[in-house]
Structure formats: structure tokens, C-alpha cells
């Protein structure tokens, strides 16, 4: 299905320049503000040729986008598709708050360009639940109160789902090591370990 997207952010994306300029002109008139004059030809103009068409599969839906190649997957999710469950904690791949799943593998969405993931299956925190039924990892985070402020939680959960998919974690020590890229300033760590362990053990038991 081809979805009509709603343009959230102006400028960085196509059409933006014009709409913005029109709006700015309108407001200036309407408000009677004396802002300094904008030169008619900006020295650093937006380049309309720099946009590319990209088709992305996000949470099982096809998304047709026109974006600049340099736009990160995180910014596309947040600014373009209104999928603001994925958080921007540092924008440098150092905190894990932006973790999403690409073909089941966990990645920092701030460190990757959206156009690199054409054809891939991207899953964000919004795509984990089946309707009103939470994913087992989401349910475990609720059951064990594995968060406080909640800001790192989408990244923690996507990372934990990726960890389970990887199949390396056997012990609490493994969980600690493999989850150490997702920081939680509230220090809800003991409960995060408990939640991830529960899902891992459930998985093991189910396999037996």
C-alpha cells in the first residue's frame, strides 16, 4: 500500500523552501514586524536537485519519501514520519536511545542514512506490538518496571529484542555486556536485566 505521508518538517526536505518563504513573507506582513531584509537571492540556496526518491519498509508499511541523501534514518522517522517513539539522545551513536531494528538487527538510527535501507525491513518501537498485544519484551519491561523517565526505553527494548535475536546471551553477565550500549540515566538497570532475562528464559523454555 502506498501511504500518503504528511510533511512534518520544512526545509531539510523538498518543497520546504517555498512554503517556508511564503509563510515567512505572510507573517512579516501580517505582524508588521521589521525584520532585516532577506536578500532576494540567497548566497547559500537550497538545492532542489539534491533530493532523491526513497522507498522504505517501516513497521510493515511502505513509505515513499523524497529526501536528501544525507538525512539520517532517525531524522526521517522523527521529523518526517511522526514516529517519535525513537528518541534522539546524543545523535552520535553513543547513548542507544535511537536503536531500531533493521532486518531484525539492532542499529543506531542516528548513525545511518535512510537511503541505505531501501528494501530492508525496519522496525521501530511503534511496530513491535501486534495491535493491542504488546511484544513479550514490551510486556516484560512493564511487568518489571524497567524504566523511570522512559526516554531510553524504546531504544532499550529494540536493543533487547535484537539481543535475543542474536542468540549470544546466556547469562546475566552476558545481558549486562550486550546491553551496555544503551544508557539509562535514571539507573533502572537492575529491572532491565530482569526483564530481558525473563524474555530470554521464556524463549529457551519455548524452544525445549
Amino acid at each position: 500500500m502506498r501511504l500518503r505521508f504528511r510533511r512534518r518538517r520544512l526545509g531539510q526536505f523538498a518543497i520546504a523552501g517555498t512554503v517556508g518563504a511564503v509563510l515567512a513573507g505572510f507573517t512579516k506582513q501580517a505582524m508588521g514586524q521589521s525584520t532585516p531584509q532577506t536578500p532576494s537571492k540567497p548566497e547559500v540556496p537550497a538545492d532542489p536537485n539534491s533530493y532523491v526518491d526513497v522507498e522504505l519498509q517501516i513497521n510493515g508499511k511502505e513509505q515513499m519519501l523524497k529526501i536528501e541523501p544525507r538525512v539520517t534514518l532517525l531524522d526521517v522517522l522523527r521529523e518526517r514520519l511522526d514516529l517519535t517513539g525513537t528518541k534522539k539522545g546524543c545523535d552520535h551513536g553513543q547513548c542507544g536511545a535511537c536503536t531500531v531494528l533493521v532486518n531484525g538487527r539492532r542499529i543506531n538510527s542516528c548513525l545511518t542514512f535512510a537511503i541505505m535501507h531501501r528494501g530492508a525491513e525496519i522496525t521501530t518501537i511503534e511496530g513491535l506490538a501486534k495491535g493491542n498485544t504488546l511484544h513479550p519484551m514490551q510486556a516484560a519491561f512493564v511487568a518489571h518496571d524497567a524504566f523511570q523517565c522512559g526516554y531510553c526505553t524504546p531504544g532499550q527494548i529494540c536493543s533487547a529484542v535484537g539481543l535475543v535475536n542474536e542468540g549470544h546471551a546466556q547469562s546475566d553477565a552476558d545481558i549486562r555486556e550486550l546491553m551496555s550500549g544503551n544508557i539509562c540515566r535514571c539507573g533502572a538497570y537492575p529491572n532491565i536485566v530482569t526483564a530481558v532475562r525473563e524474555v530470554l528464559e521464556g524463549k529457551k523454555n519455548a524452544a525445549v
Binding site: A16, L83, K87, A143, G150, M179, C186, G187
Partner: protein, 782 residues
Amino acid sequence: MTTVGQRKSHESATGHVSGKALYTDDQRQPIGMVSLYPVTAPHASARITHIDVSAAYGVAGVVTVLTAEDVPGENDTGVIIRDEVLFPTEVISYWGQAVVWVVGETETAARLGADRVVVHYEPLPPILSIKDAIAANSFQGQPLVVRRGDATTALQAADFCLTGEVEMNGQDHFYLETQASWVIPDGEGNYQIYSSTQHPTETQVIIARVLGIPNNRVVVTCLRMGGGFGGKESQANPFAAVAAIAAVKTGRPARVRLRRSQDMTLTGKRHGLLGQYQVGFSQEGHITALDVDLYADGGWSLDLSPPVLLRAALHVDNAYYIPDIEVRGQIVKTHKTSNTAFRGFGGPQGMVVGEEIIDRVARFLGLPPEVVRERNFYHGEGATNTTHYGQEIFDNRIACIWSQVKANANFAERRIEIAHFNQSHSYKKRGLAITPVKFGISFNKTQYNQAGALILIYTDGSIQLNHGGTEMGQGLHTKMLQVAASALGVKIDRFRLMPTSTDKVPNTSATAASSGADLNGQAVKDACETLKARLAPVAAKLMNLDAPEDLVFEDGWIYSRSYPNDRIRFEQVVEQAYNDRVSLSATGYYRTPNIYWDAATSQGRPFYYFAYGAAVSEVEVDGFTGTFKLRQVDIVHDVGESLNPLVDQGQIEGGFVQGMGWLTMEELVWDAQGRLRSDAPSTYKIPTISEVPEHFHVELLQRAAQEGVIYGSKAVGEPPLMLAMSVREAIRDAIAAFGAVDFVPLASPATPEAILWAIESVKARSGAKSGVAESLLVSPTV
């Protein structure tokens, strides 16, 4: 059925795990919203000689540039005094200070525009350390003195006397959600602000002041915060203010959302602090006299430094009775970020000084530090159970908690085991320590100890709950729902907890000082009592009863105690109340009783009560690398009759982890030019999941109801942070095992580098009694 005291999970739990819980910058953006980006100063101290913003307009998408001339009202966001210029025009006070802000259609356009703004500076030499500030006589605010007895005379009379100093680093809040504010103008001169702020009222007042309009034209709403920890008590204000100016100038919605490095560079942190002391004590380790100077690094402006310093001065004693004591405090002014509230609000710094002194005394006398701690506890009645600011500790629970956690941790046996381990290992040493926490609860400033609530019942029986507190992960909203459900006798799912907003509950205090549940809980309960008093006669009439005072509200039903089988549904009473023209909305209000403070004498009863805890930590230190592993932690903490044990346990664990970060790994590094070099998670290390001890036992003190507090509970936000002092002291204990010395100086934070230096120092002095310490010894009158 009551919901208070249950392990209820966070009210936004499902929202958090599904990504649907909205933070300020997650909302659906209004059309035409502009973004702001700052032009920052490349000097810590400089004179501004020239600002030329014209080139910014050459960048596509730049809407306008905000300078001091665009401020309609006051160009200042100071909260205690007016010393915090928003757009500096004359001097730069710290590296990275925002000079002007560029407004763009996008953040990218604003950033490219900011690159083109030209500012000329005349650099000046910066003051970057507490000691340099003292030398340059660079102070701000007023000096303070808190004293009891005569420390000078008592020091002269003491068996032993030691002098020394301890300096500790600040701490970045590192809330995962950086500062964010949206300002939406309505075109009629009113402004709706969405801000990640712990203090919506103050953000409102500051915006109104900066815009030069009355407070009633500004509504500030806080949906929730992705962490606050004190860093959004006053620090949200300037960013909300510049967004508001952008909204005024452009007539469009405006957004400020800081990048991580900007947030760390621009915002204030926990105060670094220098303590210089002279302590007198007896052969048995009883401290008889203490004279302390505290110097807090306020940074470039005053912000909340005076109450932070006061709390430090009022917590130097921690849990210890010191008969003759004088604490002097000063705030130094440096060319660094303006330091601010951070969980504990100066208390932790004061207590670290106190614990340093205790350890110093213990090692000098060759006594185990825990023995010296025990011997100095507040105890008994009267003077020995009264603080140096004249407040009697009427509910002293220190000894009880202390013995409980010692037993839980098998402290005595492990002391012996560790001694054996250390004898048989040359390069790895283990350390064990137990430290207490006594933390005063209430805002020091008496007038902040008030709160309001607003409850709206609709005719279908659904309810909106408003209160003045903000949610930053501490579970306040969850607790308030529990309080309201219990007080009104209905189920929690009947409520919608509303975002904190200044048009619902006005003139609120910051959600700070651990006071959120204490203050707002009482206000919520008060509103519920008002509504029940109105609904009871309606219910009585419906049930043909004479005595409404006999009615019980429980679990969505109302019944008479005398005839419990004859009951009526809550919503039926609500509907009848509407028909009878009985008001279904009510405000609630609370002010903490019996607290007072005389600032002139630094005496009074500033705290309604004290929160207590104690922690035992065991570490293993590697003598080659200086790294340590936290092997086990045992905690007993007093939260009164917990409103929600699940939430409270999370607060204790999280507070401990954050305190451990401050004391052992989070190192703020400013270079010689005053640049903050630790401005990202790659260079500023906060605790990760792998640093949490595997054996981490937290126990809540049982049968601990606190009289006069909401449902017998106690504040829990800040006190657990200081339990982490046990980690610092355990590291010191392990370092001491590398030699035989009577003094183990340890820098804070105790990073591997600091630990390694401390081990080297211990090894070098080992065996030579009072090696380095000798120079610090003052007239031992043995």
C-alpha cells in the same frame, strides 16, 4: 480497597514501552514552526567588540536573527537575582555562551546561518578553578556561617587535631532528553509554551518578564520529562525564553531543542566544591570540634547557588553529633557554566566532606572507620540529638537502620574474609565500607513548601486530576493517582492524569527537593476531601440516610458504615450532584506546618523531617590499572510507609547508581581555555548497565510510618544518591590495603587514574607514620 502502598507500575508504562508517551519535542508539529540555533562564544572570558548578523540572512531558510534588541522586556533570566543576561552585549562569561540565536525554517538552516554570524571578541583571562577564584577574590552571593558552640576553643582543647582539604568535581545531569521548549503564539498576544521544565511556574514568570507581559498571558505546560535530576529546575528557562522571543518576532511557533554537546556546554551542573577543615577529636574517635570552610563553584552567575551552599553547610554533619562546630560557606564566581540544582542540592557535597573527615580521624587513630562512624552518631535526647542549626532529630532512625544493614550484609564476617583476601593478594585488594545518610526534607526556603491541586469530576464519573508537580520518571504522577484513588474511594482507571500546566494549578513550586509527593499528595488529598464532603449529602439523600458523615467512599461505591449492604455507585451520586447543582470540581491546597528558618542566625527548623538510609559496599581494586569492580551492595532505606514500593525501590537503586557515577566515573574536564572537553557520552562516562553490582540488595525499612506526611510515607528522590558514598569509602578502604598508612587521600571522582595515584601515594608512604599527612597535622596536643 486502597491503592496507596501497592506496587503499581508507572502510569505511563504502556506509553513508554510502545513509544506513545509524548515528550515536548515528540508532539505533532504545528505548521510553520521555526527552529533556533545559537551562535556560541569561543572564549570563556571576553569583551564583545562587534556583532554582525547580516551574513546569516544570505542562507536559504534563515528567517531572522535574534539579538538583545529583540528582547521586548528584560534581557535577563536570573532566578534569585538579576545577573543572568540572556543575550550578552558586553562580556562573555563562559565558553560556549550563546550570543545571538538564529531562527530558521529548519534547524539546519538556522545552524548554517549561525555559522555566518560574525562576532568579534577581546579575550580576557578566565578564572577556571575554585582555588584561582579564591586567590582572585572572585565571589558572588553572601558568605554564610552556621555554628554551634565555640569551635576555636574546642579545637584547642581537643586531644588531637588535624587539618586537611577535600575537593570534588561537579556532575552533568545528562538527562537523556536534552532541553526542549516549544512556544506557540495565538496571535492575540498570548503564548502557550510546552517545556521540559521541572518548574513550569518559574518558566512562565521568566518568559513573562523577558517578553514584558503579565504572567497571565503565558501558559507553561510540561507533558513529562526525559529525566530532570535538578537540571531542569531553572535551566529550562533561558531556552524557553529565547523560543518565546522568536515567536514574538516571527509570529510563528518556535522550537528550541538542544543538541547533546550544546546542552552539556550551555547548562549548569552540580557544584564542584572545596572543603577545608580542622577537626578535633579524642583518643576514642569522638569528634569534639570541627571548623570547615566550604567553597562552592557557582560558575558565571548565581542561579540557585545560595540555597545549594546552605544545604551543603547543613549536611556536613551527615549523621554525626559534633558539639562545637562552625561551618562557613562562600560561592566562588568562575568562567564556567552556571551551576545549579542536582539531586541532593549541595547535601551530597557537604556529606562527602563529613565522611572524608570521619575516615581521616579513623585512620589516624587506627580504628575501623565504621567504629568511628558509630561512635559519633546523633543519639539520645537534647543536645546530642540536635543538629548544629538547632533542629532536634525527634525521629532518629540511624542506629536502627545501621544495625539492620550490617546484619543483612554480614558485615563483620566479610571484614575478616576481606582481610584474608588482601593478605594473600598483592596486586588486587578488596575494600568494604558502610556509610549512613541523614537528609533533611523540605525546601530550605519556607515559602516553597506549598502546593495545589485541581480535580474535575465529569457527569459520567470520569475524573481529571491536576496537581502542581511535574513527572520526570520519579513516579510522582503514579503516586498522585494512588493518593487520589484512595482518598476519593474510586479505581485508578477512572482518572486521567493531566499534563502539569500553569493554567490549572498556578504559583507552584519546582518539583524538587524530593518534595513532590509530600506536597502535591496532601494538596490532592485535600481536594478529594472537599469533593467527598460535597458528594456525601447527595449520596445520603439518595439512600434516604440522615447522617452523611457516616458514609464510606470505597472502590467506586458509597455506603453507610451502619448499613454496609445498602450501597450506591459513585457515578450515580455524581450525576445526582450535577442535577442538584452541586459543584463537581475542587481545588486542594497544602502548606507544610511547623517549619521556620532564621537566615540571620542560620538557626531554625528548616526540615519537616529527615530521611535515613545506610549502605554497605564492597569493591575490588586492581593495583596495576586502578580500575575497580563493585562486588556487592546492601542497602536499608527509610521511605516511611511507602506509597509505592515498586517506584521507591527504583528511586533507591537509580539514586545509588547516579551517586556512584558522580563519585567514581563522571569527570567534567575543562581545559586551560575553559572549554568543556567532556561534552558527549564518548568523553563523559555515566554508569552503564555493566557497572551495576551483580549483588544489589535493597530493603525498605519496615513499620516506618512518618507522622504528618501523606499516608505515612517519606520523600525518596534525593536521599538514596548519597548511599553511594559507601562506594567511595570502600575504594578508599581497598587502597589503604596496599600499604600501612594513616591517611588515604583520594580525589573525587575516584576514576581509575585517581585510584592509581592514591595507590602510588599509599605505597610510597607505607610504614612511615604520618608521611604526607605530617604536613597536614596541626599541634597534636597529645
